[in-house]
């Protein structure tokens, strides 16, 4: 199950003078229960792929399979809506989607669009707000009165309340302070451990190394590398030539190797590096 892209091409504004091709023959699989990361430069097609995963865009050519549902160029909106329930999409700066009078109502908005009763939706909202660390005293506040970090959490709770099986995150920690960042990344890790499939679009290589178990590298609309982070990050020079970089500790280890330190494989996390130093 999970999500599979087969021969997917995407052209935006087709048939107008502004036509442009964003994705070329993408084949990839996001396994059920995996923590898959997408990395790539601006304009590499990351955002386009994200919107293909839950049917906001339909492929111009090829097929996107979400579980057993297929999305093609001719898919109807009604069928796609089922996909949107399964695949929760957290956009960059999701706080800009808040609009209700109270925090609780805003979080309960999503599930109600998928036919959940108002009572059940509020129950879900309370549960998910607690999960993202928003305490009860904020439930009846206007979301616009909250701080930026709190708004972000409320918006993420709004997606979680739809109870998706797959959570797609587009740079979810952009603009947050280090503490807020760590807390959110820990939340996503816990969600993953409880069985949710996580898709993370990021340009923070350390996050990829610390959390993801699979990574896809995109460049100008093409998939150029994919595999386990520990394998992908061995290609330090290639990734650096694509302006993507590698985790800090990997770069450090590579510098050590250049000066004659014996290292068979480059570690991608600090823990791994400590292990190597201890046991050789």
């Amino acid at each position: 199950m999970g999500i599979t892209l087969e021969g997917v091409n995407y052209t935006y504004q087709k048939g107008t003078p502004f036509e442009g091709k964003a994705l070329f023959d993408i084949d990839l699989t996001i396994a059920d229960g995996s923590y898959t990361a997408f990395i790539g430069h601006t304009g590499s097609g990351k955002s386009t792929i994200m919107q293909l995963l839950n049917g906001l865009n339909v492929p111009t050519q090829g097929t996107v399979y979400v579980d057993d549902m297929a999305i093609t160029a001719g898919s109807k909106n009604k069928d796609i809506k089922l996909v949107r329930k399964k695949v929760g999409l957290v956009f960059q700066f999701p706080e800009s989607q808040l609009f209700e009078e109270t925090v609780l109502k805003d979080v309960a908005f999503g599930p109600q669009n998928f036919g959940v009763s108002k009572e059940r939706a509020e129950e879900l909202a309370r549960e998910k707000l607690a999960m993202v660390g928003i305490s009860e005293e904020f439930f009846d506040k206007n979301p616009f009165e909250l701080s930026g970090g709190q708004m972000r959490r409320v918006a993420i709770a709004g997606i979680l309340a739809m109870e998706p099986n797959i959570l797609v995150l587009d740079e979810p920690t952009a603009g947050l302070d280090p503490k807020g960042r760590r807390e959110l990344m820990t939340l996503f890790k816990e969600l993953h451990q409880s069985g949710m499939t996580i898709v993370l679009v990021t340009h923070l290589m350390d996050d990829v190394a610390d959390y993801a178990d699979y990574v896809n590298v995109l460049e100008t609309g093409k998939l150029i590398l994919s595999g386990k982070p520990s394998d992908i990050f061995q290609n330090v020079d290639l990734l650096e030539s694509k302006q993507l970089g590698v985790p800090k500790i990997t770069k450090f280890a590579q510098n050590l190797r250049k000066r004659g330190f014996q290292l068979e494989r480059l570690p991608i996390t600090t823990e791994e590096f400590v292990e190597v130093l201890k046991h050789g």
Partner: protein, 265 residues
């Protein structure tokens, strides 16, 4: 949105493109005044001929103008038919039950139709051949003399160019917010009217919120760069009134004079 040609600029280097935006704006105002003198066949043909000549001079393809009229055709026809049915007088041409079409009503309807058509053609010409920014400059410059009456000319010009500048940004914001809400299960443009109107709220409120935030940030950024109003401010793009601008205005005035003598009293 792609269909709306009004307000879109087509780059070019024709005589019309090179006119000072002020003379074009003034010509537009004059044109709208004198069009009310076109109340018979000769005067209308004269107006049409003048408009077509100017369109030819602009070297912009005629299809752009047809596309400019298209989205308005509904309103034009509605008004025309209204005029035809509710203006009474002259001989009765057709009578069905209480609906009576008279010769006076018919000519009045034709007049209204021409008026709409000509004004849309001419204003489309203005926006197709003038960049929005130079139009804003023209407004500012034309309002300058009224500053003695406390008209804030510079501020009005600035407001115009700022709002024009932010049209594409707002469009991007709208697309982004719509996508975010669609991901939360909102169906736009589906269901009955009440549902359709309700689905607009989740776009409008975030859009307002982000616009206010943006306006605040812009104001601070402008002040940080030393902006303090129009006094003593120089311009990078300077407007230049030349002989051809005099000629352009004169031709519209001449047309007006001609119409004044040929119109029905």
């Amino acid at each position: 949105m792609d269909k709306l040609i009004l307000g879109r600029y087509i780059p070019g280097n024709s005589l019309i493109h090179r006119l000072d935006p002020r003379s074009k704006l003034l010509a537009m105002v004059l044109y709208i005044i004198i069009i009310f003198w076109a109340n018979n066949l000769v005067t209308n043909l004269l107006m049409l001929a003048f408009t077509l000549v100017v369109i030819l001079l602009s070297q912009v393809k005629l299809s752009f103008f047809i596309n400019g009229v298209k989205p308005m055709i509904g309103i034009i026809l509605f008004t025309t038919i209204f005029q035809m049915l509710f203006t009474q007088g002259g001989e009765i041409i057709l009578q069905i039950w209480i609906i009576r079409i008279t010769s006076f009503g018919l000519s009045q309807a034709a007049l209204i139709f021409m008026r709409f058509l000509l004004i849309i053609l001419f204003s489309t010409l203005l926006t197709l051949t003038t960049t929005p920014l130079s139009l804003a400059d023209a407004v500012e410059s034309l309002l300058k003399p009224f500053e003695v009456f406390k008209v804030p000319a510079h501020e009005i010009g600035l407001m115009l160019s700022l709002s024009l500048r932010f049209v594409p940004t707002l469009m991007d914001d709208t697309t982004r917010i719509m996508n975010a809400q669609r991901a939360r299960g909102v169906d736009f443009g589906e269901g009955n009217l009440v549902q359709k109107v309700k689905s607009i709220i989740p776009i409008l409120i975030p859009l307002f919120a982000s616009s206010f935030k943006r306006a605040d940030a812009l104001a601070i950024a402008m002040e940080a760069r030393g902006y303090q109003g129009g006094d003593g401010r120089t311009k990078y793009r300077r407007l230049k009134w030349t002989l051809k601008d005099n000629l352009a205005l004169l031709s519209v005035i001449a047309l007006g004079a001609l119409l004044f003598f040929l119109k029905n009293p």
